[in-house]
Amino acid sequence: MSATLTTDAAALSSAGGTPTTVATPTLRALLRRSSFWIFAFAGIVIVAIVGVFLSGGSNAAGRALAGDNAAPAGSMALVEVLRQQGVTVTLADSLVEVRDAVGADSTVLLYDENGYLDAGQLTELAEGAARTVVVAPDFLALQALAPSVGFGGVSDTASLTADCSVSAANRAENLLPGGATLSIPEGGHPLLTGCFASDAETFSLVQVESATGGLVSLVPDARVFNNENVTGYGNAALALGLLGESDSLVWYLPTLADLPRTGPPSLAELTPGWVSPVAVLLVLAAVAAAFWRGRRFGPLVAENLPVTVKASETMEGRARLYARSNARLRALDALRVGAVQRLARAVGLGRLAQLDEVIGTVARITGSAPAEVRRVLVDAIPHSDAQLMALSDALQALEQAACRAVKAGVVPAAEAAASASREFSPPPAERMEP
């Protein structure tokens, strides 16, 4: 039979001669199909690039007082105005650049927000330039450039007027109030000039004539120079006056490059030159290996799989329910009903035999007391799991004893004949049905 079935007509699924159709799209078809996404992606990239260029390539805040920063905190306005006035403004990020740019008659603006410069660098800077404007000097800067000047706290007067001999300050007449101030020792100092006094000792501009002939202007309030406030009060006049006095201005905001390098040499300095290229090459080899192993050999094949339901699940579930609720009597009853039916069959009584008959017959052929058999089969109520197990064992022992006795031929012939006729009698009133 199997031979006829398996060697049944061989089917030729694809006709010879006609070329087989290809499921994989060609590169051209792939490009055509995904052209929308390619163009969409390219469009997004172009829009993003154009957007970045239009927004000036900087984020909203930018570096404070940076000469190329058009944000409110920057100083591009001031720098552009100075350039229009014919001043050559050089933006410098490190002391090296300042050294290159500074000339004999240059002005240097220094705004060291993070305190990168040390005392030596500050002195060098002040000595190198004819005029130095230090914006918001910190403690170290004051120590190095004007040791007798101290901090004066925040100005609390509503208006600041120049009231001093500095011409730039006089031209400005007044200044943005509410900023930080510097203090000059009481009674004055021959080399110090204070302008825009908040009270007798605190000033918003202090000019120091250093021993080498350079002029250092200390402006404690950085807001005077930024785009947001430069147009208010006499800020612009003061700034232009201080910074525009010479043809060349170096706009210097120190960066990390000014920090002296310390510590052991870096890993790159210690290793030979080929290490990084080899690492790159190995990464590329790993990527190639990923493509090699990861490329699927054709699409996945789908198949519907049948559900797996174990038929005994309901039985297991019911067993767990019994166990969880400690339904000992209910469990034992199930065991008893099964045992009584098996006993009735074993001793030759029919399916519909009455319980008392089964008990009597079993007691007789096993030679045990009917009361004991009745206790095991009906009466005893288990109050603990130990009792339940004992009763279950007793049931099994009873069944085995009955089977042994039947095999040994204890059953009286009359008994068997009686049961045979009872098979067809109407169902008795008392039946062991669950």
Partner: protein, 435 residues
Amino acid sequence: MTLSGRFVLLVALGVVPIVWFGSSSEQAAGVLLLWLVFVLTLGAVDLALAASPRVVTIERMLPARVRLGESVTSELYLTNTGRRRLVGVVRDAWQPSAGAGRNRSRIVVPRGERRLVSLTLTPFRRGERRVEQVTVRTRGPLGLWNRQATLNAPGRIRVLPPFHARKHLPSRIARLKELDGRTSVMVRGQGTEFDSLREYVLGDDVRSIDWRATARRNDVMVRTWRPERDRRVVILLDTGRTSAARVDNEPRLDTAFEAALLLAALTSVAGDRVDFLAFDRRVRGRVQGATGAALLSQMVDSMAMIDPELIEMDWAAVPGQVRSITSQHALIVVLTSIDAAGASTGLLSVLPQLTKRHTVVVASVLDPATVLAAATRGGRTEIYRAAAAERALLDVARVSAAIRQLGADVVTASPAQLPPALADRYIALKAAGRL
């Protein structure tokens, strides 16, 4: 396009020139760049020289059917219609349960020639196993980069039920024959019909002497009898949700198939007519009016595509279906599952309609695990399990009793025992003349 392990190795080999010539960092970076350009150029040239996998023409030769557990050979003919010699690997993408094993084969096809790739299939699931596509990967002369394309080459093979129960067939046929031979001494009556006249031999029942025939000839002639033939047997298969349950790691449905096939084989030998119907809410399979070898082949063919449906069996429609098959008296074998009383109400409600006209046998698989659990009383958990098993067996016994009370017959056995048990019941019914 794909890469090969050889290409990966080639890329990694760049370490040698980089270390050798890269005395400084910049020089090493330059060597790296040169190496990458070299490797990519080599790969591109290799790819350009590889044969196109798109020009392959595929023909497939497949046997239409296979019995579950047996193996067949799937043949795939690849013709290279391109201008280059094709060297590569072919993957025949059969469904996993087609049992194709390792389905990648290396091939070399010169231009304009044809090569055979054969694959041994040993399906491990019944039903229709399909293959839709063949993937061809060709390599260039250097074996660095490969071209890959998937070609449509559909094929299907029908996996038939295994019919393991056929090992029981010879012994049951022998018992049928015994039944035949016994009839000359059997008291004639219901369930037997006149077979032939033959000469009296010592030991024959004198009551079966045909006096009229004896008068016509000089010898004493006796009539012989045989079991009635040309009875109708309807095998009704429940393919509803309960047939999906696994007993002994075999779905109930598959056990039912085995039993139905053995019964059908036996019945056709005995000369009775068999009709087969697989039903849940609609007809899933039907074989009517077939005889002999065609009967079994049609049955396995329709069974191959039947899977358990996760819906409730519509018992109310069953009498109508039976009536559409036969209006005469018939033996109706219902292969279903007898569980709890609640789940069997549908069956019990329609049984009277069936038993009124027909002889009905309800066959069901009994879970051996349940019987085993009822006898295992180790600890607390096992006792509760035994109680639950005992309760399940009692449920089966109660439903069986109810079915018997409605005039039908019940056969329950473990999956391995059900087919022969059902066959035995059929023989017993035939001997008793109840067909």
